[in-house]
Amino acid sequence: MKYDVRQLELLSNEQIADGIFDMRLRCNEPDLKIECGQFAHVYVPGKSLRRPISVCDASDGVLRLVYQVKGEGTRAMSQMKAGQDVDVLYPLGHGFNVESGKRYCLIGGGIGVPPMLYTAKQCQNPLVITGFRNRDFVILQDDFKSAGAEVMLCTDDGTAGKKGFVTDLLKEQIASVDEVCACGPIPMLKAIAQVCKEADKPCQISLEERMGCGVGACLVCAVKVRKNGEEIMQHVCKNGPVFNAEEVVF
């Protein structure tokens, strides 16, 4: 059996920025065999759908999920208390493919930043570029530094780090890396894919879509991709969330 639902003890669930929460769940070490970029599907009592949250970290017996309160379900998650059990279906999806010997540039935009932390831990000496709307949303900077990453910060309004977009920094740095992995809003991913294409560097992107089952059965979280010259519908939960940027039809 590949999938299992586990009841995990909630260790802490703290607000770390405006509307952003850091949930830590106790896990048995053998249950932490997670690929970077995979996600966890969190049951919220009383809701018909689970909430898909990318894995921010999975080490030392702790599964860490950093999420943004967007609606009723994530608000209910933010009110969960230490000591209670949380029903989590994980790990799901196809994550980032990280090879040794390559230098990666990992890019996160906004709530797309958390999965890049666990990804950074799988890479040697990665360059991490993080972008946020303004200083109130900045997260995980110290975590990236502790993970041994070179981390760069920019905000749209310049209230923290450099003023500008992640793509401005990427253009300056791309010559020094072999491959790019990114997660964030679609316009950002599209722009990153374009920069990579022009520089002839491979690029993997993590996508998001309204999701149902989380395992590829209900077919709701569709994404159009081009395979062998033909456009087909694949699904974020099973084929992704990480896709080869060249194949995604934006």
Binding site: Y3, Y43, S48, E209, R210, V220, K224
Partner: protein
Amino acid sequence: MADISVNVAGVSFNNPLIAASGTFGFGREYNEFYPLEKLGGISCKGITPTRRDGNPPPRIAETPSGILNAVGLQNPGVDAFIKEDLPWLKQQNTVIIANIAGNTPEEYCLMAEKLSGTDVDMIEMNISCPNVKNGGVQFGTSCESVEAITSAVRKHCTKPLVVKLSPNVTDIASIAKAAEAAGADAVSMINTLTGMRIDINSRRPIIHNNTGGLSGAAVFPVAVRMVWQVANAIKIPIIGMGGITTWEDAVEMLIAGATALQIGTVLFSDPYAPIKINEGINNFLDKNGIKSVTELSGTVIPW
């Protein structure tokens, strides 16, 4: 341990719980949670004569106690289903129901004929999909069209034929009677109720198809009412569905008049729901000294 096996139109099911079409793909994903033989049967994802890519996303929205979906029948086509999925499904030791959806009566007949030559155990004719532009629900909303398409497909279908009914009609009992008169072996009901959600900031419908089909606990009372009305109107068996979430819901739907049950939306929050519901039914039967689940069907005592 009571006997929880049921029989619908000559097909035996080990238990009354069938995975509902569209929530379960072709079974491979949920087989990674538990062996599919734990289910009475699987109603496979709706298939069409040729591959369909479905609607653009978003295809789902959460609603109070339910969901709206508009997948738009994404599927690999009947031939790919027969070649690539059916042989595997037939090894899973559970009843396999093919669900067919066409744009025209000819398409339904063509698929019924192709599938009649295979090992599928039953064919469920979906004339109630609310999420495609042509066909689907247009065949399911008047007695004349239901009778016409059912009798046409009947001529090409040598398997037990189940007609899946839409709740988006004024008098579901008369629709069910039309299906029975035209040769259906059973009916399954209810498909989803048409609904809509709008994002108040963007003023865009949340689902790209604008409207979608409502399922989940929210529709359960509607489904119970309709199953009861239809049970009073026809003699062929009813496969009841619509928002079954707990074992109590399952028992209630059987008492309303269903012979077997389909469950779908609850799988998204609890993939193990069918196993829990079967246990609950079993305990209920034992506690009440009932030997067979079949003794529950249609035993409501109306006021």
